[in-house]
Structures are given as C-alpha cells and as structure tokens.
Amino acid sequence: MEVHYSLSFCLLQERNRPFQNIPLGSIVILKPHKVLIVKNYFQTQWKIYMQEGKPNLLDMGSLMIKPIQRVMKYPLLLCELRNSTPASHPDHRVLGDAFAAVKDINVNINELKRRKDLVLKYKKNDEDESLKDKLSKLNIHSISKKSKRVTNHLKILTRGESQVKDNTFNREEKLFRSLEKTVRHCVKNISFCVQHIQDAMPLALQSVRDLREISHSKDEEDGGCPETPSNASNPCRDFAAPLQRLVLTPLSALLSLFPGPHKLIQKRYDKLLDYNGYLQRSAGDESDLAKKEYEALNAQLVEELQVFNRAARGILRNCLCSFVARLGDLMLLAERAYSTVAPAPRLVSGISEIQNRLLEEVQNLNFVKDNSATFIERKLSFEKKKPMQIPPEMPRQNDTHRCQLLSTYRAEELYQAKRKCNATQELDINLLEGELVAVMEQNDPLGSTSRWLVDTGIVKGYVYSSFLKPYNPAKTQRGDSEANGTDADSFQEVDEQIFYAVHAFQARSDHELSLQEHQRVHILRFCDLSGNKEWWLAEAQGQQGYVPANYLGKMTYA
C-alpha cells in the first residue's frame, strides 16, 4: 500500500509534464500529426493486452476515453482515501497534497481544453456566413454584449490604459503585425524585381546582338566563332524558376497563414473588454467566466504567437538569403556570357575621338555636303545670288538708234523695256531699262506668244513680252521714274528665271496661275507679296499668277 502511494506520488510529481504534451481532450480529435501518437498508444496497449492475455478488446471509442476516465477517477479515489485516513496518520498530509495535485491536473486539462475550444470556436471563417446567418445570430444577448464591448472600448480609448494588460502579448502582437506587413511587401517587391530583371536582360542581349550585326561585316561572321552570347538568355530562365520555388512560394504560403490569427486576436480583445468591464463590479459567476475566457485565449495566443513569429522570422531570413544567392549566381552567369566576347580594352575618350574622326570623313563626302538639310535652304539663296556673268559688252542703244526705230516703225509697234533684260536663251538679246525696241513679231519660232522678236536698232532678237511696255513718248520722262519706282521692290538679278512646271497645277483663284505639265514659265518674283518664298510670281502665255515653288523645276542653261 505504501509503496503504491509513494509510487503514485512520484508519478504525480511529474504531474504536468506528460499530460501537457498530450492534451488528453484533443486526442479525440484525430489530427494527422497526432495519429502517430495514437497509433503508438494503441500498439503499446495492444502489446500489453497480448502479453497479459486479456481477451476483452475494447473498441476505439472506449479505448480513447480510458485515460480521461482514469484521470477523472483519481481525485475521487484520493478524496475517499484521504477522508478514510485518520488525521494522525503520516500519509494524511501526503494524501492531501496528492489530492490537490490531481485536482490541479484536472483544472489544467480543463483550461487547456478551454483554450482549444475557444480557438476552435472563433477560428471559424466569418466570410462563409451570409448576411442572413449573421442577422439570425443577432439577439438580445449578443447585442447587449456587443454594446458593452463598445462602451468599454471607448472607455479605454478615452481614459487610457485598461486594467487588464499583458505586455508580452502586446509585444508579440506588434511583432506579428509588422511581420505580416514585411512579408507582404517582400513578396510584392521581389516579384517586381524579378519581373524587371526578366525584362531587362534579354533586351540587353538583343541590343548587343544587333549592334554586333552592324559593326561586323558578313564575312567576319561566317568565319568567326559563334561569339554571340546566345545562351545568355538561359541564365534568366534558370533564374526565375528556382527563385519562385525558393523564395516566392514559401513567402506566399507564409503570407496566407497570417490572416488566421487575426480573428482570434480580435476576439481576445473582446474578451479583454468584457473582463475589464466586470472588474469594475463585484466578482460573480459571469466575471469568473469572463476572466477565465480571457486568460485562456490570451495564454494560448501568447504562446502560439511566439512560435509563429519565430518561425516566420526564420522563413523570411532564409528566403532573403536564397534571393541574394540566386542574384549572385545570375550575375556570375551573365558576366561569363558577356566575357566570351571580351575585346581589347580601349579608353572611352579614345572611342569618341575615333568615331568623331570617322564621322567627319563621312560628312565630308560630297553627297552629305551638298544635301545636308541645313544647307538646302541656303543653297537656293546661294544660287540666286550667284554672281552674274557679265554679258559681253554690247553696244548700247543711243539716240541715233532710237530715231532710226522711231522712223522705221509705227507707233504701236514701239515698246520700251521696263527693266533690264538678260538674254537667257538662244536668239535672245539684252536690253537695258528704257531702251526702245520695235516689235517685229509677237511670237517666237516655237509658237510661244510671250517671246517677241524685236529690233533694237542694233540687233534683232527675242525678248519676253512681259519686259516690254508700249512706248509712250509723252510719258517717257515720268515713265522712267515710274519704272524706277517699280523696280524698287526687289527684283533679284537672277540668271535662271525660266522654270518649268514639274507637275500640273490648277489655279484656285485669280491670283494663281494654272500650269500644264512641263509648261515653261518665266518667274517674275521669287516670293509673294507677303514675302512667302513658297509662292512665286510666274508668267506664262501672257498671264501672270502665283504658282507653288515646289511645282517648279529649274532649267539651267550654260
């Protein structure tokens, strides 16, 4: 008997340990990782039964319930034993202690079970419930509970700290939340970074390939070794997949585990509020319950949050290390890929010198010089300002010639040159301003009526009719000054005034002149009245009008 007692006392010294590791209540709920424990338990039991030759095998349910029954029997047994022991017996005190210890065990088991139950109860996902379910849950009791909680919450907010506080919990919770934020950011940023890397590296390689194509001739390529880092797109491919596996998947999995405890944390706060509320009033059954619930939930959360945080931190660290290692490998591969094409080093300054020199050479090529965009506008004006070839000195008309003309021809045949005319075509003649001519024919061999055959008294030749105005002796004096006046606005001394229409042009107004394709026109002015160089005043077949400059092509004559 005594041996039995001391043995059981020793066993009870170890009271909490075996029972805490295997919460008896939850063996009933078969979790996968607990099956092993149960299986071991069964196997040992079965062996015992086989050894002892006990034929009465129990079913699962009764087998499971046996430990619990036993544990619950102990207090009763010990209580009875103690009651039947006289107080003077040395064992009485020991029995008393044993009884207290066994009762403690039971209480602990209960509390532990409460924790698990609470967690289970509140772990249920609220999103599964529809609005209807939520509404149906509302009743007086729940509404009053909620309103009390709200009041308490406001009290805490306004009055400061609540009486019920657990610093450990607060710390753990803060850590928990910051870990969640970190992990979320990490996942997002790392995936962006990987995406960018995957975009950037192939682009760089492509540019290298293209540049190589330009900078090397075909002969070299055929003969040379395949220097192109064509296999360097692989580092990128090999980068993405392992990274996904090693870093992103664990982190995402971790991230998905975070929302679970949130609800429980919220519930714990509710319980805290309840408990806080009861603290103000006298203790009673309700306040006891609130206290118990709060403490159960709190303890459970504290314990498990610590585990959670530790593990999460470890995972985060591992993932970061993997990320860095992968990056390092990627860089190495890329370096190798580019190194296969390693050329002789050359200074940057050297490069720009070489290139500038080459570019200058290219730009010295005639076609560049002639056709550079900046030169084109200047070229037109250059051409206009080309120094006029001084025509061979021709005898000028003098009075004798004029008199001769006046006498030879009729008045209406006499014309005066409005301005200086230069011979541009064969059979043309030069005229000075104001010279008198007599028109012999009002057309030229080619049929154009704008060129007239005139006689200056010295020589006969062709002149454009637009240069001539009817000779009016009365107005000669004033006419000259008029002519001078009209000459004031810029008639440029141009050699080439004859243009031809490259393309037909349809006049859209009175001011414009219609042109046929290849029609030759005589340009009077190289700009319009507002100075716009796009429109030129042209004359053809006796008509004047503006034509677009780019429809005209130059006819150059030696």
Binding site: K116, K123, S178, C186, N189, I190, C193, H196, A204, S207, V208, L211, I214, S215, L246, P250, L254, L257, G260, K263, L264, E304, V307, F308, A311, A312, R313, G314, R317, N318, L320, S322, A325, R326, L327, G328, M331, A334, Y338, V341, A342, P343, R346, I351, L358, L359, E361, V362, N366, F367, V368, D370, N371, I376, Q425, E426, L446, H503, T556, A558
Partner: protein, 253 residues
Amino acid sequence: MSWIPFKITQPKKQIVPKTVERDFEREYGKLQQLEEQTRRLQKDMKKSADADLAMSKSAVKISLDLLSNPLCEQDQDFLNMVTALDTAMKRMDAFNQEKVNQIQKTVIEPLKKFGSVFPSLNMAVKRREQALQDYRRLQAKVEKYEEKEKTGPVLAKLHQAREELRPVREDFEAKNKQLLDEMPRFYGSRLGYFQPSFESLIRAQVVYYSEMHKIFGDLTQQLDQPGHSDEQREQENEAKLSELRALSIVADD
C-alpha cells in the same frame, strides 16, 4: 512626292544602262537597310536602358521596405542583415546608373550621329532621281524631234532641245557617279565606326556584372548563414511552414 505620276505614265527608257542601275539599287538598298537597323537599334537600346534602371529601382525598394519595418528595432540580427542588403542594393543601383550612362555616351549618342547622315543621303538620291527624270524627258523630246521631218522650226526646236538636254544629262551623270562612288564608302565606314561602340558596350556589361557578382558574393557571406545550400534552406522553410500550420491559431481545414 509628285514623282509617282511620272513613273506610271512614262515608259522606262533605257538611257541608263541596266548594270549601273542595278549597282545603284544594290548600294542604296544596303544603305537603306543600315538606316533601318540603326533606327531600330537606337530604340531598342533606349528601351534596354530604361528596363535596367527600373530593375535597380525595384531592387532598392525591396531593401527600403525591409528597413522601414519595426522588426528591425527588436531584432539586432535582422537589422544587420537588412542594412547589409540595403547597402548592396544601393551599390547595385549606383553601378547600374553608371553603366547606363556609359552606354549612353559610347553607343546611343554615336548611333544618333550616324543616323543623322541618312537624310542627306536620301535627299541626294531623290535629286539624282529628279535629274534622271529630267534627263529622260528631254531625251524623249529630242528623239521625238529627231523623228519628225527636218523643217526649219523643227530643226530649231531640235537644236534647242539638244541644248537643254546636254546640261541635264551632265548633271545626272555627275550625281550618279558621285553617289555610286560615295555610297560604298559610307557603307564601309560603319564598320570602323561601330566597332568601338560594340566593344564599349560589351565591356560595360562585363564590368557591371563582375561587380555585381562580387557584391552579392560578399553579401551572402555577411548574412551569417554560411554553407547553407538552397536545398537546406528549402527544407528548413518547409519544416517551419508545417510547424506553423500545426499551430491551432492558424486557420486550416
């Protein structure tokens, strides 16, 4: 331009020998292709530079976000690790920027300059084409007059037409010769011009990646997890994750 109606209405007269024309086409074709290539390359390089910069910016963001996390205050180890990571990322960004600048200077700028020659070339070819059309037209006119009976006005016109034809033909010949002469030279100059760029590009990349490799190698050593291979880390992660899932507070069904 307005050249298109010409090509349809006028039959092609063989005043320019076929071989010459073919040579011209070939040379010009090569240069057109080169122009296209340079233009495309310029665009690609710009895209590549932008992508590089985006990458390094996002890398810096990783470490920045990590730093701003309150976890750093509580855990000294973690803080050290994150600071080291941050330094590395910032250096990566700096090197990347430098690489992009280098490439800009030695590749993209020269590309632009080279490309600026092409408009002149195109203009020159257009002018030659113009001259050719003039030449053709006048040639046709001369031939037309030659076929007519030799009367006075016709002779005069013929003479005049011939006079017109001469300078135009000479002009065309000159332009043609000039282009035929200079186009191959231009085409050939690209080799010498772009080779330094190519070399510089390669070198910039090599330097950059070797630096990066060094940085990240150092970093791996600093993050005090010596010798842990990826598999080990993966297993550790798995173990921790299952540990977490075992917790009752974590929702699982």
